[in-house]
């Protein structure tokens, strides 16, 4: 029961999702829509597990005075402060101008945007490493990247040529490789899904 039931559920639900694609009847449409909603609801309950995990790990580090435990206190303080500010006013906390939304605007958004903007620095360092043109592959990567990067930059008489090249690269070889990539991914993902549904791949499910 403990071992068989989960795999039975996997196979039955997997086969249902496969079969419902071909049956346009209303009953199957409803069941399909409910299934997607149930997954969202499961995710919602699982969030409680996530919060428990986060709290447990942080409290454990604080209790054992692991080096850097002070930062875990800050994490917990931030977490519970937001929870209080978000739950106490009720659904009104999601309205613009509420304390909850102010926290989002003044803490979350600036920090998120700053983390995102770090990419500008990292992309430069990654480009320096990747574009040293030591191999044919690195050279192709470098040349292609430069042509695309410069396509919006005014280059005088070379602009038209560069833009034509950039357009050609994007619409022809780029598209060809992307198609091959996507077809490969499609076959790989389909095979993985088949292995899961048929119970050939079982390692993701625990055992006692």
């Amino acid at each position: 029961m403990r071992r068989v039931m989960p795999f039975t559920i996997v196979t039955v639900t997997g086969l249902f999702m496969l079969v419902q694609y071909f049956i346009p009847r209303e009953e199957f449409e409803w069941l399909y829509e409910w299934t997607l909603d149930w997954i969202i609801v499961i995710g919602c309950f699982a969030m409680l597990l996530g919060l428990w995990s986060m709290t447990y790990v942080s409290v454990s580090k604080v209790r054992r005075k692991i080096p850097g435990w002070g930062y875990n206190v800050i994490t917990l303080a931030g977490l519970f402060f937001v929870l209080i500010v978000g739950f106490v006013p009720g659904q009104a906390s999601l309205v613009r101008g509420s304390a909850f939304m102010h926290l989002f605007e003044y803490i979350y958004i600036p920090v998120q945007a700053s983390m995102f903007s770090l990419l500008a620095f990292y992309i430069a360092s990654a480009a320096y490493r990747a574009f040293r043109a030591r191999t044919i592959l690195a050279t192709i990567l470098l040349v292609s990247a430069i042509i695309i990067m410069l396509r919006l930059v005014p280059l005088g008489p070379l602009s038209a040529v560069n833009q034509w090249l950039a357009n050609f690269i994007l619409t022809v070889p780029n598209m060809a490789a992307k198609r091959a990539f996507w077809i490969g991914v499609g076959l790989g993902a389909t095979a993985t899904a088949l292995k899961i549904m048929l119970g050939i791949e079982r390692t993701y499910m625990g055992r006692d």
Binding site: W30, W38, A177, T190, A193, L194
Partner: protein, 221 residues
């Protein structure tokens, strides 16, 4: 210079500087910002999920569904079952919470199995259609048309790219040659992706500079 009087802008700016300090190296200022960010984001995510999914969908629909069941019983239409079908979703969700109790935690695998099974079935078809049949449909190109050269390169590139992803044969000889052409095409794509992204990443940095020097310090704009 006209610094903003808004305390929220000051908080945002100081946190921004804290994140940028990471470029120099790991330091207490960055660690503080990171810890706060992780805690606040997790809390924010949970609160939003609670009000928009748990209350607005689950509680509300279960309430409507129970009401429909009391008034109409089993004679309700399929669309009415939508409401109290959420009860089943709620049960599956509740089973997840049993993970917290070691002796009965194994029951939570049923909910996980539901998610994994549904995902597998859905993506089996989804990928076969979108990444398989649709790509084949679009890759079938006429070599006698006006843009025959572009079409020829598209067909050759797709062909060689697929050869590259073959697992059953080692990349040697003529087969290896075709696979090599395939990886060249892939490198062109990766280079194009790289080049495409650079400008947008730079604009993000410009946005942050505008926030610091414009919105916060009032030095520009």
């Amino acid at each position: 210079m006209h610094p903003s009087p808004d305390i929220g802008i000051w908080i945002g700016a100081l946190l921004t500087l804290g994140i940028f300090s990471f470029l120099y190296g790991d330091n207490p200022y960055y660690k503080f910002c990171e810890a706060l960010f992780v805690g606040v984001s997790a809390g924010h995510w949970f609160v939003t999920l609670f009000w928009t999914v748990f209350v607005a969908k689950l509680i509300r629909n279960v309430g409507i569904g129970l009401n429909t069941f009391i008034t109409e019983g089993f004679s309700a239409g399929l669309s009415d079952y939508l409401h109290w079908s959420y009860i089943f979703g709620g049960v599956l969700g509740f089973l997840m919470l049993l993970r917290l109790f070691p002796k009965i935690g194994w029951i939570s695998r049923w909910s996980l199995a539901f998610v994994v099974g549904t995902t597998s079935g859905y993506f089996f078809i989804n990928y076969l259609v979108s990444n398989g049949l649709r790509q084949i449909e679009k890759s079938i190109l006429s070599l006698g048309a006006e843009f025959w050269f572009g079409n020829l390169i598209l067909v050759v590139g797709t062909f060689c790219g697929l050869i590259y992803f073959f697992f059953s044969k080692e990349h040697k000889g003529a087969f290896g040659g075709l696979a090599r052409v395939g990886i060249w095409f892939l490198m062109i794509t990766f280079g194009a992706s790289f080049g495409y992204t650079v400008m947008s990443r730079m604009s993000l940095l410009i946005g942050r500079m505008d926030y610091l020097f414009g919105t916060w310090l009032g030095m520009i704009g």
